[in-house]
């Protein structure tokens, strides 16, 4: 059994389709608060008998139902991702947290990636990415840039090194 700040006990849920209750809402808020100021995350993936990690920029839907990452076509991560869709995104607040490691919060997102081919949605995602990452304007506008959506299956919210909360969004 673990506790969140107001000492309200929760049981980490491993079941999918758990209706959203006050506790999951709280974790969702915490995750939202953390990633709001984070512009980059680590994309972890596997394939071709190898593990792989890469720092990527991202944007996301306000309700955390979808994350989007832009990748250069033909890059190593692009080629792995079109073959193996199960990925993990790692985000943390090291850059904004106070010096103590105990203040560092992290999020692990496990999800499934899909190459976005719908032109209308691509245009929308492009604008959203530019808004969040103005410096990437020429990159995301390039025809050699592709967009992957990642649909989260499970979030892990980690605080004080070892306290871990799991949130599985309702599907």
């Amino acid at each position: 059994m673990v506790f969140i700040n107001d000492d309200e006990p929760i049981l980490p849920s491993k079941k999918p389709n758990v209706p959203e209750g006050p506790l999951s809402k709280k974790i969702k808020e915490k995750i939202s608060g953390l990633i709001k100021d984070q512009r980059f995350c680590v994309l972890s993936l596997k394939g071709e008998n190898t593990a792989y990690g890469s720092l990527v920029s991202f944007t996301y839907a306000d309700d955390l139902s979808e994350f989007v990452i832009p990748l250069q076509k033909g890059s190593r991560k692009y080629n792995l991702l079109v073959k193996e869709k199960e990925v993990c995104l790692v985000m943390d607040n090291r850059d904004t947290s106070p010096p103590s490691p105990n203040h560092i919060e992290g999020v692990n997102l496990l999800g499934t990636a899909h190459l976005l081919s719908d032109d209308k949605r691509r245009a929308g995602m492009k604008n959203q990415l530019i808004k969040r990452h103005p410096q990437l304007k020429s990159f995301v506008s390039s025809p050699t840039c592709s967009f992957f959506t990642i649909t989260p299956k499970t979030f892990y919210h980690i605080v004080r090194f070892q306290e871990i909360y799991q949130w599985t969004p309702e599907s």
Partner: protein, 739 residues
């Protein structure tokens, strides 16, 4: 609520910090507060600059541009490209509504009717250690609100100009720090203007310089002096004897005395020697700028190192240069090349050969100097066209204007078209093609069509007509140098190239016709309006001429170089120096000097041969340097498109004959002598960077991707490597993309 101070009247600003006003406004606000005449002004603070950046999310985009590659690795041309992209970002940015309101309030319609000047006032300029003199923009005679907002954007953007970046690079200043204030002033239409130095910077006055003021005067505006349009008249004044000055053309003795007094007072007030810009309007002497005297300016100090600063001649100079280059220098260099190539040299003795060698070497050096001082600066016409087009059209792609340039008239295009005709000729006659294949197979290193080869070709039905055309093309276009070899002597390479072209005839790429140019012209004329259409037409004309000449001049200069090489080869033959040296790696000065001595004195022949071999050995050693293998390299996205293929490095003349259809051309920089390879190339990678260099523009014309500006490219790829060239993003990925 945002409490930022966006604007401040010059009269009220003297208590504010330079960090808010920028140094120029701060200095002038102080001068106003002490009762000197300064044209009425309004300061736009650095907070206004911040607001613009924030509302347009520009800071991140600027940093993405300037950090595309380390500044120390950027050539000046790449800095110019970077600054053009940044300037476009500024011009496309939306003017903050709050600032728009403030300007509407502070700058009256009446004031605009008279015209205003918009001047830079960066935090760092006018400092004792780094004056940034002449580095940032000033725009004059602005008289509409839309022009005013555009002028402000241009002045802000000049914080990131090529010269500013260069300045910061050379002084190792922090590239990210610094903000730009702007000073808007009522226009004064002066009868004369100039600068005053409170200590004379003239060398002859060095013993007594502290006691001597120097006044420089030009008729009209001060930019006539600052931009070097007019030579100023100089007046020296003894500080202690101001009463002893006399009238001097544009200024009365009283006015000269008054200028001396102003300068002395300002030196005292600022506590160090100053130079001031001044002007005289309606009989009043105004102070336009005050700054500490620095030691001559960074660029003036090291003229040789920064010679490329001359590559930004002003519009007035460009037109003079155009006339000189087009009607005087180009016909002269062309004619001279042809004259030299006609000269009979085969029967010259050693003394005559030596004389000819020295003469041709001297002549080449003279032309190289002209190339540096006139031809290269004239190439700036293309840059001026780019800036003008972007300032008025604000296109999404800052290099859209290159579509206005025409390629049809270039000498290299004419040559390529002639080669294409020869290819078609060859393709129509399979038997002739067979003969050529046989000859080239017989002796891969054949350097001349030997008599026997000629006979074989002539025996063919189509042979005579083919050879006639072939020699015509050769004589007209190929007496040029590539990698220190005369192409006219390398029929084997040309033969191989023609066969490669035949093989790929259906798939060769052609230049895109310049129909799009008409659309771009209309776009520009609409943007500038009817009143300025003629001006736009002139700038397009200048840009096109400059582009044509920058390509042709290389070929004409190369022809002069070929004529020197001809004598060198004859000299080496005469001395029976059949040594295996790569002439291209041998410094020309050493080669000419050694050969000259060896021709005159047999005792020098041995040491000359040894020297050549030594130099060649050193060059070989340099070539063998290796480093860590890269996976992906970043350069300039010079022409869009993405393609994968095999690398073919073209450095030596031998490489010209090995280039096959579909190869990715990797070279130091595309030269006009090698553009005949482009119809076969699937992409270009150049070591040298720049969006307006030959390779970049030609790749756009041929619609093939180009990435340039990768200094380490030759360490990282070799012939046959599989690479992916992403011309949209400026990336070269080495190895198969699928891991």
């Amino acid at each position: 609520m945002d409490s930022r101070k966006l604007t401040l009247g010059l009269k009220e600003a003297f208590n504010e910090e330079a960090s808010l006003l920028g140094a120029k406004s701060k200095n002038l606000a102080f001068v106003v507060s002490r009762g000197f005449n300064v044209p009425e002004g309004l300061c736009l603070t650095t907070e206004a600059y911040d607001l613009f950046l924030e509302e347009n999310q520009l800071r991140e985009q600027i940093f993405a541009e300037i950090h595309r590659k380390p500044l120390r690795k950027m050539r000046w041309e790449e800095m110019w490209d970077t600054s053009l992209r940044i300037r476009s970002l500024f011009l496309q940015g939306t003017f903050p509504p709050k600032l728009h309101e403030a300007l509407s309030r502070e700058v009256s319609d009446e004031g605009l009717k008279n015209g205003v000047s918009v001047r830079s006032s960066s935090q760092k300029e006018d400092h004792r250690l780094a004056s940034y003199a002449g580095v940032h923009e000033t725009l004059l005679k602005i008289n509409s609100r839309s022009e005013l907002e555009k002028a402000i954007k241009i002045v802000w953007a000049s914080l990131w100009s090529d010269v500013t970046l260069l300045y910061k690079k050379e002084l190792s200043l922090n590239i990210e720090r610094s903000k730009m204030g702007v000073l808007i002033q009522k226009m004064v239409y002066p009868t004369c203007s100039g600068v005053c130095f409170s200590e004379s910077p003239i060398k002859e006055n060095s013993n007594d310089r502290k006691n001597i003021c120097l006044v420089e005067v030009v008729p009209g505006e001060c930019r006539n002096l600052v931009d070097g349009i007019l030579e100023p008249k100089q007046i020296l004044i003894e500080k202690e004897n101001l009463d002893q000055v006399s009238d001097f053309e544009l200024l009365s003795s009283g006015e000269i005395k008054h200028l001396g007094e102003i300068t002395n007072s300002l030196e005292e007030l600022f506590g160090h020697p100053v130079d001031i810009e001044w002007c005289k309007g309606d009989g009043v002497l105004f102070v336009l700028q005050v700054r500490p005297i620095t030691s001559g300016g960074l660029f003036k100090k090291d003229r040789e190192k920064f010679w490329f600063i001359k590559l930004r001649p002003k519009k007035e100079h460009l037109w003079d240069l155009a006339k000189k280059v087009e009607s005087e220098l180009i016909p002269k260099i062309k004619e001279r090349g042809e004259q030299l190539s006609r000269e009979e040299l085969d029967r010259l003795g050693p003394g005559e050969l030596q004389k000819c060698l020295i003469q041709r070497h001297e002549e080449l050096k003279d032309w190289q100097e002209i190339y540096k001082n006139d031809f290269i600066p004239f190439a700036h016409g293309v840059r001026q066209l780019g800036q003008y087009y972007n300032d008025h059209v604000s296109p999404e792609d800052p290099f859209e204007f290159t579509g206005l340039l025409k390629f049809e008239d270039l000498e290299a295009t004419k040559r390529n078209n002639s080669l294409l005709k020869l290819t078609i000729h060859l393709n129509k006659s399979p038997s002739l093609k067979e003969v050529l294949l046989e000859i080239l197979k017989e002796n891969q290193s054949v350097s001349e069509f030997k008599r026997v080869h000629l006979k074989k070709i002539l025996k063919n039905e189509q042979g005579k007509a083919f050879l006639r055309s072939y020699f015509k093309v050769q004589k007209k276009y190929l007496d040029v140098v590539f990698d220190f070899s005369r192409l006219i002597e390398r029929n084997d390479l040309l033969g191989k190239h023609l066969l490669n072209l035949v093989e790929a005839l259906d798939g060769t790429k052609e230049m895109v016709k310049s129909e799009g140019a008409l659309d771009l012209e209309s776009k520009l004329y609409n943007a500038v309006g009817k009143d300025r259409e003629d001006e736009a037409r002139e700038i397009i004309k200048l840009g096109r001429l400059s582009w044509k000449i920058r390509d042709d001049d290389n070929l004409f200069l190369s022809k002069i170089e070929a004529q020197l090489l001809r004598v060198i080869k004859l000299g080496l033959d005469f001395l029976n120096l059949e040594i295996d040296v790569e002439l291209g790696t041998t410094p020309i000065e050493k080669l000419v000097e050694g050969l000259s001595l060896a021709l005159l004195d047999p005792d020098h022949r041995g040491p000359f041969k040894e020297e050549l071999q030594k130099i060649n050995g050193e060059a070989e050693l340099k070539k063998k340097k290796k480093s860590v293998q890269a996976f992906q390299l970043i350069g300039q996205p010079a022409a869009p498109g993405i393609i994968s293929g095999e690398v073919k490095i073209v450095l030596s003349v031998e490489d010209l004959g090995k280039f096959k259809a579909g190869d990715i051309l990797v070279c130091k920089a595309i030269q006009p002598q090698m553009t005949h390879l482009l119809p076969l190339a699937s992409a270009i990678i150049e070591q040298r960077g720049g969006m307006l260099i030959h390779g970049a523009l030609l790749a756009r014309e041929f619609c093939i991707p180009c990435v340039n500006g990768i200094p380490e490219i030759f360490e990282q790829v070799k012939d046959g490597d599989f690479v992916t060239v992403d011309g949209h993003l400026g990336l070269v990925t080495i190895g198969t993309p699928d891991i």
